[in-house]
Amino acid sequence: MSGLAETVVHTLAPGLLYPTGGAILFALGLYGLIRRHHLVLRILALNIMGSGVFMVLLGVAARGEGPPDPVAQALTLTGIVVAVSATAFALALVVHLTRLTGHAVMLPGPPDDDAPVEDISREEHHADGGPADPPPDEDRPA
């Protein structure tokens, strides 16, 4: 009987349990990214995928008896800081997109290539980086 308990405890060691959890998070984030269309939810889905990758990395580093692998921890720390800065930039872009188009939803479907393009080298481009006066886009219904 103790043999079975031993194998169960061995297989459920953090070195295998957390990487599996990380793989589940990665797949969950991928599913959420495909299904949901609101941009803030998609950014959350990408963050959850990133946490899944880091859980796999730290789970792999915790294998074996000795202290966990410091290189893996340094990589995870670097990854977390990169994820935060990418998320902050993505949220700033989404807010700016809502300011221009009135909605924060990235509907699938082919992009309309012939949308009017503003050229920043022209004179009437505003100095504060914003467009001269945003062309009146019709609101896409939800």
Binding site: P19, F26, L33, L39, R42, I43, L46, M49, G50, V53, V56, L57, V60, D69, V71, A72, L75, T78, G79, V82, S85, A86, F89, A90, L93, V94, H96, L97, L100, T101, M106, P110, P111, D113, D114, A115, P116, V117, E118, D119, I120, S121, R122, H125, A127, D128, G129, G130, P131, P134, P135, D137
Partner: protein, 494 residues
């Protein structure tokens, strides 16, 4: 006795990384003079890269001696990070320097608003530094970090115009980039979990065709195909490149997408070499044919000049996919594929710059009403045509040499008995015809009779730089042998 310059090569490599970072940091810290710092920096980086290539070439014909590995901070491979320079990365560094210098000169004229200059130049110089570091990096996790540097600065530049189309294209591009990076990182984590090493050369020695390597190969290749907009995952490219400022879309189509392709090539020649089976080659080849057909049809249908050029990027990248099966059969063919990517980058960048000049002059880039401006600006149209000719692959241009060698390799596979080879040959020849169709479509209005109105005044930079880059793209054919034997200096290549 190693050749005279050899001992300066490691310092030169690390110095290139240091210089490109120093220029970017200085431009960020001193925004008022960012454009001057950018210009001087561009000249300095280009000079440094050319000097480095001179040093690299005369370290002799033997690839083992030429390939240099520099340990950063003095820490050797398994612990520290190694910079890795060989023929492949040297060629792409020279390409980045040439296109980067041309884009920097063009941007001097294109971005002339006082405020926007301060935002544009630091981002552009970080993108250039990121590309230089990407081509020099020899460590798996370091590749992920440099890919992030390139992706974030590229997205920021795509969103630079601030219009609804540009920002929505940038958001779509950013989400796909983050997804690609995470998938690439998961592949790196799998390899690290299995082998406990991150350096590419050490990984190459330890990998065999196990389940971990297969999963890592799938994840890393899918991530990079997302970033390189290779056929099945290309949906973000047209809106992003079409709505970005002209110099940015030139760099995106020319260098950033080529950088992702370089990584796929580097991984499949090194770490994942045991996994490259003929069946995989044929699958990739079929994707290439589909990309060629779809991209060209979209280019023929698109209404705006920049959209045509963006779709032609998707199409021309179909060539690189078609060449994969050729590489599996004829080992020497990989150098031809890289040479084609180099020529395509030069030609595509000059076409985008010329399109930017036309859009600036006309105020819009709807092809239907561009007639007057096309007729009134012979220089820009000649640049457009010359680069288009190189894209098409007419004789005496770089494109011709690349396509000729590709056809040679394709026929080689047919003679070697693989019937699928006929499809590759047809695809390569047909691709040239389709390219001719949409290039002529861009240039045709200038041949018709009608009013010639030069539109807005254009700064001299914007007038002459596209022409200069187009001539370099056309003359790349003459540099064919030089490029091919530089590429030969890559150890471990088949």
């Amino acid at each position: 006795m190693s050749p005279p310059g050899a001992e300066w090569l490691p310092a030169g490599i690390a110095g290139l990384v240091g210089l490109s970072l120093a220029v970017a940091v200085l431009a960020t810290a001193w925004p008022r003079q960012a454009h001057r710092v950018g210009l001087l920096g561009a000249l300095a980086i280009t000079a440094w890269v050319l000097g480095l290539s001179a040093l690299f070439l005369n370290t002799g014909p033997d690839p083992e001696a030429a390939a240099t590995r520099v340990a950063l901070g003095g820490w050797e491979a398994p612990l520290g990070l190694m910079l890795h320079l060989d023929g492949l990365s040297m060629t792409l560094l020279v390409l980045t320097a040439v296109v980067g210098l041309a884009t920097s000169l063009y941007s001097l004229g294109y971005v002339h608003d006082r405020i926007e200059r301060r935002q544009f130049w630091p981002l552009w110089l970080w993108l250039w530094a990121g590309l230089n570091m990407l081509f020099l990096s020899g460590d798996a996790f370091n590749l992920y970090i440099t890919l992030e540097v390139v992706s974030l600065s590229a997205v920021a530049l795509v969103a630079f115009t601030g219009t609804a189309a540009a920002v929505s294209g940038a958001v779509r591009y950013l989400l796909i980039n983050i997804l690609g990076s995470l998938s690439f990182l998961m592949g790196v984590v799998l390899l690290f979990g299995e082998h406990g090493v991150l350096d590419l050369v050490l990984l190459e020695a330890r990998t065999e065709a196990g389940p971990t390597e297969r999963m890592a190969a799938v994840l890393m290749t899918a991530g990079l195909m997302l970033k390189a907009a290779l056929f099945p995952l290309h949906v973000w490219l047209a809106p992003a490149h079409g709505s970005a400022p002209a110099p940015v879309s030139a760099v995106l189509s020319g260098l950033v997408v080529t950088g992702s392709f370089y990584l796929i090539l580097r991984l499949w020649m090194g770490v994942f070499a045991p996994l490259a089976t003929p069946a995989f080659g044929i699958l990739v080849g079929m994707l290439g044919v589909a990309a060629l057909v779809w991209g060209s049809l979209q280019a023929l249908r698109a209404g705006r000049l920049k959209s045509i050029v963006a779709y032609s990027t998707v199409a021309q990248f179909g060539y690189l996919l078609v060449a994969f099966p050729l590489m599996l059969v004829d080992p020497g063919a990989w150098r031809v594929v890289v040479f084609f990517a180099v020529v395509h980058a030069l030609a595509k960048a000059s076409v985008f710059l010329a399109a930017g000049t036309l859009q600036h002059a006309a105020g819009h880039d709807r092809l239907a009403d561009l007639g007057e401006v096309l007729r009134a600006r012979p220089r820009t149209v000649f640049a457009l045509g010359l680069a288009g000719v190189s894209l098409m692959g007419l004789p005496f241009t770089g494109g011709f040499i690349a396509k000729y060698l590709l056809l040679e390799a394709g026929l080689g596979t047919v003679l070697a008995g693989s019937f699928i080879g006929v499809l590759w040959v047809l695809a390569i020849a047909g691709g040239g015809l389709l390219a001719a169709a949409y290039v002529l479509r861009m240039v045709a209005p200038s041949f018709q009779r009608g009013r010639a109105d030069a539109g807005e005044a254009v700064s001299p930079w914007m007038d002459w730089v596209p022409l200069g880059l187009a001539t370099v793209a056309a003359l790349a054919g003459l540099a064919g042998p030089l490029t091919l034997n530089t590429l030969a200096l890559t150890p471990g290549a088949p």
